[in-house]
Symmetry: C2
Subunit: 359 residues, 2 copies
């Protein structure tokens, strides 16, 4: 088992990465001991892992409540959050209660936000069961729900007390979701660590075959990179924005198609191709490096182009991005592998990128 | 003008107390300068003060949006919060935006919560226009909305950047709301400062006549007491719970009658009578002191008894209180004027208090 500590002063927490963790671990037993515990999951994950986790929690928890939501991005709404709160209040959950998120990023973001706002804040644990959630949403404490006008527009920063990343759960993951997770793995190398990027490029075959050791190494590598960024900028004052590489375009694609049509990682895959193209066009990045990144995204079986929309539609969708300042989007661009920065760009190269990388 | 600093490290902020503050103040102009600003208010306060505040903000803000909600506790819901978020997103408000709450506790709690969760957190200013909001909700950073199963069950701790308490706005306050605010003023003396309690007792006549100087002194005194408690316990780990004196009974009354039937301060008034009675019954407080407190609550024209419900109904309503542990309520009790503590009580004295102080 691999262990990583996210060092955020009084909000520090461990990430445990390995096999068999859904069946229980001392760290989870200690956290659950004597507390009211609610497991939140979705209708796809529940039949696979809920009973295993229940057996692990039942000897320790003072009470155990389960909330099973419909699967998919469409559940990241206030209505789902209200279902969780209903269940907690009906069972008289107090401020000392513990929530456990068992599932992918949607379950994690929603459960984390429920934990952030239930009685003004209770503890929670992440048990991510997708590669995307293991490498991305389990580090950083960003929780949120969607709004019809924008993704993740309502949320909070709320750190989990523990993350259990069980790579065994990735065996049951659909191929599309595995690729979606690899988008974030590629992103971490691209923005922060060229030698990790090399590793991922060399290991792509084993990752796609779901080799447990390769996956555990990627989860650890990605969490380590993300943790080091978040530790230096917990509230997203500046540096942390580089984690949004590919996301300005990606969020526009997700919002424009309607959440859940493309997976988040798929949209980020196409978004990184666009962001790399834009980085070249403004003279920051060598075209050969942009092509190498585009090649790795294709190797991970991710889309390399955005939907065939007029530029104006992309521009409107991007104007509500959280990195925007007064409606003008800013982009995370690469200057080389391992080095990213945030900046505004002129209209001309942006439109050229949209023309070249969509449709 | 009186000024008070709430010292919470990087979240420290000033409270300004005096006349004419809705017409503007340098501190507000500085905060609004060059930012997108949204004023949230209600249909009762808007015709009285919104245009004055608009004139104060317009020369400084880069954009100004106004959200006018229906007045009353029934607005403290997700639906109202969603209206605020809709308005902000439609106007492309970014993370650097500023919200301004102009109104009573409902507007303040709701706007504060909107600021806590909009794009995971933006700044806000409180311009409280009721005595209750000036002495209570402007200090402490507690924000929330209600749930059908309990008051303030969904919320966050989020400190304002500035509070402008304009005592001139109290001239237009209905008598019931003035009394409701006095409930919290009395509470602050009772739990923390016997000499302040004496002042309030002696000055009750001038407070009821809305003497500006007496009101400003009470707002400052109450804010000072509350700030000193909150500074020592921002996240309500322990000490801060004493501010809930009268609130366990009070919340039960509000929830049982349906929010908005009694004003919060009215419910707290009756709740303090009950809590003082309970404090005597368990041998903590001299009966003469309980009678003195009950007398001052009556002098402030507040209800001194709860609704005529069977004890069982009170007990059920109190089991979801946020101070409850696993469904068992805990009570803030007085041991003398100026000294309060949190504890569980036996069923017998609790039922005796409910019988003696309701109906």
């Amino acid at each position: 088992m691999r262990e990583l500590k996210v060092a955020l002063d009084e909000r520090a927490y461990p990430i445990l990465i390995g096999s068999g963790l859904v069946s229980g671990h001392d760290a989870l037993a200690r956290l659950a001991a004597g507390r009211m515990v609610a497991v939140v999951t979705d209708a796809v994950v529940a039949p696979l892992y809920l009973s295993t986790l229940r057996v692990a929690l039942q000897p320790h928890a003072a009470a155990l409540v389960e909330v099973v939501l419909p699967a998919g991005e469409a559940s990241k709404t206030w209505a789902s959050l209200d279902r969780i709160v209903d269940a907690l209040l009906a069972a008289h959950f107090d401020r000392g209660s513990l929530l456990v998120a068992l599932g992918g990023g949607v379950v994690g973001d929603l459960t984390g936000f429920a934990a952030a706002v239930y009685q003004r804040g209770v503890d929670y644990v992440q048990v991510p069961t997708t590669l995307l959630a293991q490498v991305d949403s389990s580090v950083g404490g960003k929780t949120a729900i969607n709004h019809p006008l924008g993704k993740n527009m309502i949320g909070a920063f709320h750190q989990p007390r523990l993350v259990l990343a069980d790579v065994d759960t990735l065996r049951t993951l659909p191929q599309r979701e595995l690729s979606a997770g690899l988008a974030e793995v590629i992103k971490h190398g691209a923005i922060a660590d060229p030698s990790y990027f090399d590793d991922v490029e060399r290991g792509m075959g084993r990752l796609l075959e779901r080799d447990a050791e390769a996956l555990a190494r990627a989860v650890e590598g990605s969490c380590r990179i993300k943790a080091s960024v978040v530790e230096r900028d917990e509230r997203e004052g500046g540096l942390r924005a580089i984690l949004n590489f590919g996301h300005t375009f990606g969020h526009a694609i997700e919002a424009g198609l309607g959440y859940g049509q493309w997976l988040h990682g798929e949209a980020v895959g196409a978004g990184m191709v666009m962001a790399a193209d834009l980085s070249s066009r403004v003279g920051l990045l060598e075209p050969a490096v942009a092509r190498r990144l585009t090649g790795l995204i294709a190797a991970a079986r991710l889309p390399g182009r955005g939907p065939a929309w007029p530029a104006q539609r992309y521009l409107e969708l991007m104007s509500v991005d959280k990195k925007a300042e007064r409606g003008t989007p800013r982009f995370v661009l690469l200057e080389r592998l391992g080095s990213a920065l945030l900046r505004r760009v002129d209209d001309a190269p942006l439109r050229a990128t949209l023309a070249a990388c969509s449709g």
